[in-house]
């Protein structure tokens, strides 16, 4: 970080130059410019007041520069158009003449004055007031230093699903280092659990594993699986991250992934990857194509950790890679930018008691069904009931936990499409009848409506209406032994009972259970739906309110794979742009706390949307991290001790301006 220069000393007495622009006839046509100039001359500390046809033109700017040099002006007011147009122009001009760019003030006598009235008298009076405000305000201006910090070209990506992998590859391919942190033993995320992908019906693993492998072997990507970010400090350009690498009890440098340890391990536990539908060993890789292909030992199910003996894996490992003494390791890394791609959690439908999830074994969630369909899944890809038989009919219930005030208000965006995909897979693999029970079909993506149409042609029955319950209470012979889905078919306007063998619940995508911790860790915000909030919903969809922290994929909101990949690439592009620029400018008009005055009341602490205010427990004062501060001034307005100063917008400056406009 560049050296912090705080200007405190007022450099000599203010000597103000006032320049009133005609803007052709835009201003001069309504405002009596000479009168304003005369008025300005009479204001305190004004050394010179002039008028000119176009102040923003080269001659106009030269006039100012010359006066600075010849008259020794140290503050400049230009009364012309909106500062949003030409403030940068004039700041640049006075800087060229050797003045600090913040010793400049603009009076907006065009947009706010000459253009909104035709009355010359009114316009002239108002122009005078605005000029007087600018002069009074600039009298108190202090030079400020724009600080630049270099950007560390390394990037931290948190979450190794498709979003994280995509972003990592983009950045790594551009030649920059990426740390890809994943909490599970393998990267791949939810996508690698899926069987096929809609609407193209590509095999999910077939399109994802090449990317996983290349992320695993890329020279610029350091995979940190079975790891979690514990602490983040710093700011854009120079973050410091502490990462906990959980003990795998397998020495990564020795293991060659032969898998003999897994084969020999006699102990089992429910497979997380298969959502408990199958079992894995105590030493395991979550799935065969895992990247890295290095197993981990699960302490909770390993006999050696539980009972103190076994060590079968160790005996059979020829490379002596098993290390029961391994400990968690904290690794510190320095990065310039962070991309968060932590994904989503599947909604647990158990609370919707009437759908019978957890009660009826053949009521399954969508994600479970993905595993059931998958050829390396628990059933070897056969769509079967719990008793091993093939279902004759399957109901697919949409919007389970989505679009529902009781659970999640939002639409999960992918369920309609994956439900259609299931229909296809069922039709492909079985002879079962399929009932789609939907509220609305939302097929908005490229090729999605066409997919819907194709499925309609495959003999799927569509029933419009949100089912009320799934029950096993039969009221007729044909319902016996079946699951009966009861609800209104709202197009028929009657209640229907559909007896089926299997029910698939299209569960919502919800924010990760630990999203709050992640949000706090990275100083980003969550929306009412608990997903992370982007900087602007339309124009800045992957940045966050914290500079240098980007989000992509489902952690920002439910989305499908194409959107996730697009977002990930966008986030990568944003990071690459910063890396290529090499430096970032920090806001100069920030707030600072005078610790001599701060009583540590902590009123301001929560007001900062950027979490820039820290409370220093030992000193009992609050302190602003000026690299995080964006200079909004909200805390300043709240401080009951007037201990916070907003640079360039100090209370005194604004008071002076109020006095000025009220001449």
């Amino acid at each position: 970080m560049a050296e912090k220069k705080v200007a405190t000393k007022k450099d000599t007495e203010p000597k103000i130059g006032v320049y009133v622009c005609h803007c052709g006839s835009n201003i001069a046509g309504t405002v009596d410019v000479p009168q304003v100039v005369e008025f300005a001359k009479g204001l305190p500390a004004v050394a010179i007041a002039r008028e000119y046809k176009f102040m923003c033109s080269d001659p106009g700017q030269s006039m100012i520069k010359d006066d600075i040099k010849q008259l020794g002006l140290n503050r400049v007011v230009v009364a012309s158009c909106s500062p949003l147009l030409h403030e940068p122009t004039f700041r640049h001009a006075i800087q060229e003449a050797g003045l600090n760019p913040y010793l400049f003030e603009m009076a907006n006598i065009r947009e706010h004055c000459s253009w909104t009235t035709e009355d010359h008298g009114e316009a002239t009076e108002k122009a005078k007031a605005l000029v007087s405000a600018a002069v009074k305000r600039i009298y108190l201006h202090q030079p400020l230093e724009v600080r630049e910090v270099p950007v560390n070209p390394n990037t931290l990506i948190v979450g190794g699903g498709i979003a994280g992998i995509q972003a990592a590859l983009e950045i790594a391919d551009a030649g920059h280092k990426v740390y890809l942190v994943e909490k599970d033993p393998s990267i791949g995320g939810h996508m690698i659990q899926f069987d096929k992908t809609f609407p193209t019906l590509d095999c999910s693993a077939c399109i994802l594993t090449p990317k996983m492998t290349s992320a695993g072997s890329h020279p610029n990507i350091e995979l940190m699986t079975y790891s979690e970010v514990e602490e983040i400090a710093g700011f854009i350009g120079s973050f410091k991250a502490k990462i906990r690498k959980k003990a795998k009890f397998v020495d990564e440098s020795k293991c060659n992934g032969c898998g003999v340890c897994i084969e020999k391990c006699p102990w089992k536990a429910d497979s997380e990857f298969d959502l408990g539908l199958s079992q894995r060993k105590a030493i395991y890789t979550p799935f065969p194509q895992a990247v890295p292909n290095i197993p981990v030992i699960d302490k909770e199910s390993c006999a050696y950790f539980l009972k103190g003996k076994c060590r079968a894996c160790e005996k059979f490992c020829e490379r002596e890679a098993i290390d029961f003494e391994q400990q968690d390791k904290i690794v510190e890394i320095d990065v310039g930018n962070i991309i968060i791609t932590t994904g989503y959690d599947p909604f647990d439908p158990t609370p919707i008691i009437k759908y019978g999830y957890g009660k009826f074994p053949n009521v399954v969630t969508g994600l479970e069904f993905e595993r059931i369909c998958n050829s390396v899944g628990p059933t070897g890809g056969k769509i079967v009931l719990k008793d091993g038989s093939e279902p004759k009919s399957i109901a697919i219930i949409h919007c389970v936990g989505s679009r529902d005030e009781n659970y999640h208000k939002y639409c999960s965006r992918v369920c309609c499409m994956y439900a259609l995909k299931y229909s296809h897979l069922i039709k492909e693999k079985t002879k079962a009848d399929v009932y789609q029970m939907y509220i609305d079909m939302r097929c908005f993506g490229k090729g999605y409506e066409e997919f819907y149409q194709r499925l309609s042609d495959e003999g799927v029955t569509f029933i419009r209406g949100k089912p009320a319950e799934v029950t096993d209470r039969a009221i007729s012979e044909e319902e016996k032994g079946k699951l009966i889905v009861v609800g209104e078919d709202s197009l028929l306007g009657t209640v229907i009972r559909v007896p089926v063998d299997m029910v698939i619940l299209c569960i919502a995508l919800e924010a990760r259970a630990d999203a709050k911790n992640v949000a706090q860790l990275f100083s980003i915000s969550q929306g009412a739906d608990a997903f992370f909030i982007e900087r602007h919903p339309k124009l800045d969809p992957v940045a966050t309110m914290t500079d240098g922290v980007f989000i992509a994929g489902c952690c920002q909101g439910p989305k499908d794979i194409p959107d996730t990949v697009a977002q990930a690439s966008a986030a990568a592009a944003r990071v690459l742009a910063l890396i290529s620029k090499g430096k970032v400018e920090l806001e100069a008009t920030v707030a600072v706390i005078d610790e001599e005055k701060c009583s540590g009341c902590r009123i301001c602490n929560l007001l900062c949307p950027y979490n820039a205010i820290d409370f220093i427990e030992e000193e009992e004062v609050s302190r602003i991290n000026d690299a995080l501060c964006k200079g909004c001034g909200t805390c300043v307005a709240a401080c009951p001790s007037a201990a916070i100063t907003h640079k360039h917008f100090t209370t005194e400056e604004i008071m002076a301006e109020i006095e000025g406009v009220l001449v």
Partner: protein, 382 residues
């Protein structure tokens, strides 16, 4: 084919009468599927809401009087639509605008309430006759609790037992309480749901004025309907009381040891959650605590319990209307009671009691099953 044209004016009237939740409905049909009526007949709730949205409601349709406001749909509605409010609004349109016909039996009850302050048409001066010989004091300024029995519990002999048992218990627990005099009237809860808004306003005002005069702060009730309206609806008119249902009070008395349940009751009992106490107020545990603390009593649950309880079909004025054989929710519920092998059905609502007593007779189960208010069971065990 019948052609419908949206009538904005009709929709506006429904909205004006308090039907505004209908604007939220997105027509998923979950309510229809959840509605208990559809186990017996066909009642397309969703369609009725959609017709209201379009202003094409057939106000002559008897179906408009079907909903009893059991709230099963509201509990699960994905858009939090207060469907009973829509129903109430539709009925208000019928009554206040004269858009349709009020069922005959309901009209009689409404007249009774309007004329004599109770749905049974009994003389108001005899309202408190049931307590004549009990030596119970009439509530005066300074008494701690006002015990307010519902109209049925004051006039109707089977339901009176609830009031008598309550007095018995309160006396044994040495509670400082009083009963109202003959001037109080029906709480108005059901007739309001049936659309008679101005009558409700009048009833509520009468009671509120009496309560104010007496300085009533705490009201003990044995009807969940009185409970709901005193607690949630009278505040709309500026009144605020601490309202307690007897079951809550009993659970506390037992917990605090102020009454001791010593006598064994050798009954197999199941409990029916009333909608008004259950889904409306979330009061479920107290009843189970009470029943489980009665010695000898064998308590069994029905599969449809607590928030999934099946309505008896008696609220919103439905008690006063005739339901055809085969269209009675109470009988459906009694079948569930019999399925779990209970010989006693515990309830805590006078409407449930009336409906189930009728059901026991019509199903010819008089010797097999008895319906008892929870207060009766407690009084017996004392």
């Amino acid at each position: 084919m019948e052609i419908a044209t949206p009538m904005k004016e009709t929709t506006d009237i429904i909205l004006e009468k308090g039907g505004n939740p209908l604007e939220l409905c997105y027509q998923c049909g979950l309510c229809t599927g959840v509605c208990p009526w559809n186990r017996l007949t066909s009642f397309t709730l969703r369609k009725l809401i959609h017709k209201s949205q379009l202003g094409v409601v057939d106000f002559e349709d008897e179906e408009l009087w079907r909903c009893v406001g059991c709230n099963a749909c509201v509990d699960r509605c994905p858009r939090d639509v207060e469907i009973p409010h829509i129903m109430r609004a539709l009925r208000r349109v019928i009554i206040e605008v004269g858009a349709g016909i009020v069922p005959h039996s309901l009209r009689i009850s409404e007249k009774n309430i309007s004329a004599v302050g109770n749905p049974l048409g009994e003389p108001p001066e005899k309202r408190m006759d049931w307590a004549k010989d009990l030596g119970v004091k009439t509530f005066t300024k300074g008494t701690e609790i006002l015990y307010f029995p519902c109209c049925y519990q004051t006039y109707d002999p089977p339901a009176q037992k609830t009031a008598l048992a309550t007095i018995d218990i309160l006396k044994k627990a040495a509670v400082d309480f009083g009963i109202p005099d003959n001037n109080v009237v029906c709480c108005g809860e059901s007739i309001r749901k049936a659309g008679a808004e101005s009558l409700f306003q009048r009833l509520a005002k009468t009671n509120i004025d009496i309560f104010a005069e007496l300085g009533v702060k705490k009201i003990l009730v044995t009807s969940p309907h009185c409970y709901h309206t005193f607690k949630d609806e009278y505040p709309e008119l500026g009144a605020n009381y601490e309202v307690i249902h007897l079951s809550q009070y009993l659970a506390d008395l037992i917990k605090d040891g102020r009454i001791k349940l010593t006598k064994e009751l050798n009954k197999k009992v199941t409990y029916h959650d009333s909608c008004c106490l259950g889904r409306y107020q979330g009061i479920y545990d107290e009843h189970r605590e009470i029943l489980n603390s009665i010695p000898g009593l064998d308590f069994v649950e029905m599969p449809e319990m607590r928030e999934y309880s099946l309505c008896c079909g008696g609220c919103a004025g439905r008690l006063w209307m005739e339901s055809k054989k085969g269209e009675r929710l109470s009988e459906l519920r009694l079948e569930q009671v019999l399925e779990v092998g209970a010989n006693t059905l515990a309830i805590s609502c006078p409407y449930c009691m009336a409906n189930f007593n009728d059901g026991v007779i019509s199903m010819d189960k008089a010797g097999v099953l008895e319906v008892k208010d929870i207060s009766e069971l407690v009084a017996e065990a004392l």
